[in-house]
Symmetry: C2
DNA sequence: ACCATTCTTGAACGATCGCTCAACCCGACT
DNA sequence: AGTCGGGTTGAGCGATCGTTCAAGAATGGT
């Protein structure tokens, strides 16, 4: 018995993520979803419970993919800072051509979710905090390797990376100016090595 | 003849702005608006044409208020950089207690508006570009006054301010951590005076 | 071959959406 | 006092929203 003739959950989540990422939670109707993932309402509700339930899984799926991309950038570069820089360039300059939105889905959700959808908002905040913590761990590793001065405030630098990344993605959506974005990224990472107090 | 017994347009825009700022364009229903501004649908549509038309005026009203606040911060400080810093602190630390949202309404709209609502999106982008240009003019003034080195790239610095401001407001909504925000603002403005190549 | 069980289907529910319009109200002018 | 005309009103339009559920299709066990 059990799982017979089921859908491919990963594929469904991929398609749903693209849709939510492009249009946002509120502006995506369940009928949009039905069409995009080729499932009927009953099946969707059996599998995910509600539109919110599906979105919750989408948020996690998105964050997981982001983490994977960061890991890939780090292993492909000899230095931690080089890896972080590659990650920024990937999200902002290279990957953005086929991405559903210039923005981070988490930042977009943080923006549109009301306090009334408190569970989704909590989930979003938790995933963003996890991203910042991932940055902090990498910064710490960079300090350990001597890429950054030993007095580096790792929590502050991770926070700054998070702020810059979200700000840059907003800026890209506002202007579409990749040259300007590229210039800011360069200044951001060039200003790092010989660190402060 | 003409305008008899009319509503106070400014007061209406203030209330509508608070509402849209809090809930966003899509999540705000026309019935929410009717209640908030105490007008019936017919009057609203006679005055503003549509929900989009009202929102367009709200965006302009909001941007105008932001500009006023920036001007006030600049005249209240002896240096341009001090004025800019006060503006950042006002939006992020002081003013945010009674604001409808931690986020910038323009950034929020940029995030949720689809390409199909192209006129609103265009308006939003134009108002953000105007803000960046206002920053650039102030940075130029700071260079002229010797607060910044003569080789300062004013366009780049203005862009960085814009990116940081939006990023910081997102971060505040994500974490609610004013101490962290304050620390980033301090580092941001302390790193400026003795400028680069 | 036949039941038992699970998954899928799509019509349809009540709620709410943005918006319209015929009827009404009321100050301005003669 | 009477008429005119723009401003206001609120019931209600058709569309769409998130969600449900009875009925059908598909599978595994015997």
């Amino acid at each position: 018995m059990a799982n017979t003739a089921k859908f491919d959950r990963r594929e469904v989540l991929e398609k749903a993520t693209r849709l939510f990422w492009q249009k946002g939670f509120h502006a995506t109707s369940t009928r949009d979803i039905q069409q995009a993932i080729d499932m009927r309402p009953g099946s969707i509700y059996a599998a995910f419970g509600s539109k919110s339930g599906l979105f919750r899984e989408v948020l996690r799926f998105y964050a997981e993919n982001m983490t994977d991309q960061l890991t890939r950038c780090l292993t492909a570069n000899s230095t931690v800072l080089g890896g972080l820089r590659a990650f920024f360039r990937l999200l902002l300059l290279e990957g953005s051509s086929d991405a559903p939105s210039e923005l981070c889905l988490l930042a977009k959700s943080l923006s549109e979710l009301d306090e009334e959808e408190s569970e989704l908002l909590r989930e979003t905040r938790a995933l963003l905090a996890a991203t910042e913590e991932a940055f902090r761990l990498q910064v710490e590793k960079a300090v350990g390797r001597g890429e950054l001065g030993p007095a580096t405030d790792t929590a502050l630098l991770a926070r700054q990376l998070q702020i810059q990344l979200i700000g840059l993605r907003s800026y890209l959506r506002a202007t579409g100016d990749r040259g300007a974005v590229s210039q800011v990224i360069d200044h951001l990472f060039e200003g790092l090595p010989g660190d402060k107090s």
